[in-house]
């Protein structure tokens, strides 16, 4: 009995030792497949029927777009369209298409395919941004003309985004609205091999890609890991090569690891406080200005990133490096509690005001809500502004309360930016803006946006943006806090990603050194 027991324990110990002694070997340069840790899987891989901004970086790998953008300035560049030209007094956009491009399912890319894809996009009912296109005309096999029914200069920007992602006509016919998302076929550098919902998504290099020199990896494998601590462990153990988004609290430990590098990139995304201008006292422009003077943006940005990453304080909705910005207005609001107090009194509230803000109680995206609200409460006190916080479990919960026009007059939220700066102002500042809940018109804004849509001349547009930016700081429709850099981490052996201002990762050019 005793001998048997001893033998058994020894055997067990030996087995365990064999199991654990070989060091774990994971993906990496040997396979030439980069393993990407992401918190969210795509909601769908159909660009026409998806809505989530979180899908875009997946879509970039599977679909090429009619137009690409310059990573630094976001100006249009050729991609599937070799050139574009406005004609017919800015009512027609003529695109010359690239020849010799094929879809993942073997279908040829041509003008007919573009027409089918754009019409599929318009009929989805999910996205309305291409609705002003009344006709997609096939001029010849490799020329299309998009006719619009109103001045619509944002069209080129939209073709750099979802609307310009061309889906194979065969896939559209075969799988339709319900099926393309799981059976995507684009012309992009990678095609889908397998997708286990909630677990992983595997892509391989598309052998017939039209621009093969650009692509170095043999494949991309996404692992969906929701828990941030877990994904950082996976990165440190070498199970993943790249983590899409890193919570700043994890940065010190990653920085200490010589095999890893922390990457930061400026983006057009920002953290803002959306304001319901229907509700007192924030219906008063002076109170909104007071609020804006009453907060110390630099301190907030420092708190948000734990001093690990530099985030620029924001007075405008577009960052200073982006062409629609107005440099002299960029630092308009600096911390000035005395001026804030004056403005509150001037607005007719000598005893001060009380405002309510809703924020995401979690530490994560887009901002550590609880921390920021606590800090702002203290900053605003000397200005006579009492900030009451409502902390909810998710950002979505706040938005629902805020949109419901309940007593939540302020909402701490993230603004991810739009492919065109015109859309940014159109959707936040005009009297018909989806994100401007009160729909209270601001003087001159609607007209300025109309003028932007009517011209495709960049110099002219820049002038109008200066006017809009002045109106933005004067009216404070939202309180801009700081711009969000994209913070991610990767293996030191990985390189090749081109940083872009859009803030959506483009992994197609990654390679192992």
């Amino acid at each position: 009995m005793r001998l048997k027991q001893i033998t058994a324990s020894l055997l067990l110990a030996a087995t365990f030792a064999t199991i654990v002694s070989a060091p774990a070997a994971y993906a990496g340069p040997d396979t030439n497949i980069a393993v990407i840790g992401v918190g969210e899987e795509p909601t769908t891989l159909d660009p026409a029927n998806g809505l989530s901004g979180g899908d875009i970086h997946f879509l970039y790998t599977v679909y090429d777009r009619l137009l690409d953008f310059d990573p630094a300035t976001l100006e249009p560049r050729p991609m599937l369209a070799e050139s574009f030209e406005w004609a017919d007094e800015n009512r027609t956009l003529v695109l010359k298409l690239r020849q010799g491009v094929t879809f993942h399912d073997g279908e040829p890319f041509n003008a007919e395919a573009v027409k089918t894809s754009i019409e599929f996009y318009q009929s989805s009912g999910k996205q309305a941004d291409l609705n002003p296109v009344t006709e997609v005309e096939v001029v010849d096999e490799f020329t299309v003309a998009l006719h619009v029914d109103r001045p619509y200069s944002v069209l080129t920007s939209l073709l750099m985004d979802r609307g310009g992602m061309i889906i194979s006509p065969k896939a559209i016919a075969e799988f339709g609205v319900e099926g393309v998302g799981r059976n995507p076929a684009g012309t992009g550098p990678f095609r889908v091999v397998s997708w286990a919902a909630g677990d992983n998504l595997a892509l391989e290099r598309f052998p017939d890609y039209w621009n093969p020199e650009r692509i170095k990896l043999d494949g991309l494998e996404y692992r969906i890991i929701k828990n941030q601590t877990t994904v950082v462990s996976a990165l440190m153990a070498g199970q993943v090569d790249y983590v899409m988004s890193i919570d700043p609290v994890n940065l010190p430990v990653i920085r200490r690891n010589p095999n890893l590098q922390v990457m930061t990139q400026p983006t057009i995304a920002s953290v803002v406080i959306a304001v319901n201008t229907n509700l007192e006292p924030v219906s008063s422009k002076l109170v909104r200005q007071a609020f804006s003077y009453g907060i110390d943006r630099e301190a907030l940005a420092r708190i948000a990133y734990g001093g690990e990453v530099e985030a620029l304080p924001a007075s405008l909705l577009v960052p200073p490096s982006y062409w629609p910005s107005t440099p002299e207005l960029d630092g308009h609001y600096t911390y000035d509690p005395v001026k804030a107090k004056q403005l509150v009194t001037e607005a007719g509230y000598p005893d001060g005001v009380e405002v309510a803000i809703c924020a995401n109680a979690n530490s994560g995206s887009p901002a550590p809500g609880a921390k920021l609200v606590d800090m702002m409460r203290e900053q605003l006190r000397p200005a006579g502004i009492t900030l009451n916080g409502e902390m909810l479990a998710t950002g979505a919960a706040c938005i629902e309360l805020y949109n419901g026009q309940q007593a939540i007059m302020l909402n701490l939220a993230g603004w991810s930016g739009r492919p065109s700066p015109i859309m940014t102002y159109q959707q936040t500042f005009t009297s018909y803006a989806a994100y401007h809940v009160s729909k209270e018109p601001f003087d001159g804004v609607d007209a300025a946006v109309e003028r932007l849509l009517a011209t495709s001349d960049p110099a002219e547009q820049e002038k109008i943006f200066d006017e809009l930016n002045a109106m933005w700081v004067d009216n404070v429709p939202w309180v801009s806090l700081y711009f969000q850099p994209r913070v991610f981490a990767q293996s030191s052996q990985l390189a090749g990603e081109l940083p872009n201002l859009m803030g959506k990762a483009n992994l197609t050019t990654l390679y192992f050194e």
Partner: protein, 312 residues
């Protein structure tokens, strides 16, 4: 016996109904709907309304609940609001993963817990008993997710012995499989081991103080026969009951552990669907889990009835 099975099955329906109403209400009464999980956090109010209409979420709550229940009677658990996948498919994909982990943790808990409990009772009051009792106190008190994080730090990040995340099924090779599950299974099993040890010890102590054990000793039977054949056999019904209870707890514990180790199991699915308020998935998963728990209880009762003539 058949009557017992029928009785038990009869209680499933009202329990399941009550639980599903409870889960439904909790999920519905919190703000932040699935529309945001579908369209992203900066979806426009107009679009959220559109999605809600499309998904039927603008109907009164009782109507939504009844229509979901109607689907259930047709054998469907509905479709996920977020990615439109059949809930049965989602559950079927993830169930084997969770079941493997829970089963392995249960086997480990039984294989370690019962022998330790027996040793503790045989050596009651001694140093070994004291050691085992301190171990069980720790096992019950320490949260499993904390242990899991410590284990990841040591075995995956310092020693590089084990992968910190992921799950490889047994079909991928036993060694690979055991490497991927050893940390989750051990951390998951620690609490149950402690519980089983304590119950085994007290059940054995009770049995050892009985008349027939004293008779056995006086007949001069060897110690291992007295302990195993007389005492353990009588203690077994209460031990099995505890093992059944522990099995139900393990399924719940998997929720946390799966998240820490990024294991694509049912617990992780549940957490995600609660956050996005994907109520058909939440309802589907809780319903399935409930059936499993009720089934485990039924099986335990049947086993106990089989080995213990007094309960028949």
């Amino acid at each position: 016996m058949l009557l017992l099975i029928l009785q038990r099955l009869g209680t499933i329906i009202p329990t399941a109904l009550l639980a599903s109403i409870l889960v439904f209400s909790i999920v519905q009464l919190t703000p932040g709907g699935p529309a945001y999980a579908i369209a992203g956090p900066d979806a426009t109010p107009e679009f959220v309304a559109h999605i809600n209409r499309e998904l039927g979420l603008d109907r009164p709550l009782p109507v939504q609940y009844l229509s979901w229940l109607g689907q259930m009677t047709e054998g469907s658990l509905g479709r996920s609001l977020v990615n439109r996948t059949e809930v049965t498919t989602l559950v079927a994909n993830r169930m084997p993963v969770s079941a493997t982990i829970a089963l392995e943790a249960l086997i480990l808990a039984v294989l370690v817990g019962i022998p330790l409990g027996i040793i503790a009772s045989v050596r009651a009051g001694g140093a070994i008993d004291g050691g085992i009792r301190s171990f069980t106190s720790i096992g019950i008190a320490v949260p499993e997710f904390w242990l899991a994080m410590l284990a990841v730090n040591l075995f995956a990040l310092q020693l590089f012995w084990l992968p910190p995340t992921g799950f490889s099924p047994p079909s991928a090779g036993l060694v690979v499989h055991f490497k991927s599950v050893v940390m989750p299974v051990v951390t998951l099993a620690l609490g149950p081991i402690a519980i089983i040890v304590r119950f085994t010890r007290s059940a054995m102590n009770e049995a050892l103080s009985a008349q027939y054990v004293r008779t056995a000793w006086s007949l001069g039977l060897p110690a291992h026969q007295v302990y195993l054949r007389f005492a353990l056999k009588n203690a077994l019904p209460s031990i099995i009951t505890v093992v059944g209870m522990v099995a139900s707890v393990l399924i719940g514990g998997a929720v946390l552990i799966e998240s820490v180790f990024a294991i694509p199991g049912i617990g992780e699915l549940l957490v995600q669907s609660v956050l996005s308020k994907d109520f058909p998935v939440v309802q589907g998963v809780t319903t399935v889990l409930m059936f499993i728990v009720i089934l485990i209880n039924l099986v335990v009762d049947l086993i106990v009835a089989a080995i213990d003539p007094r309960t028949r």
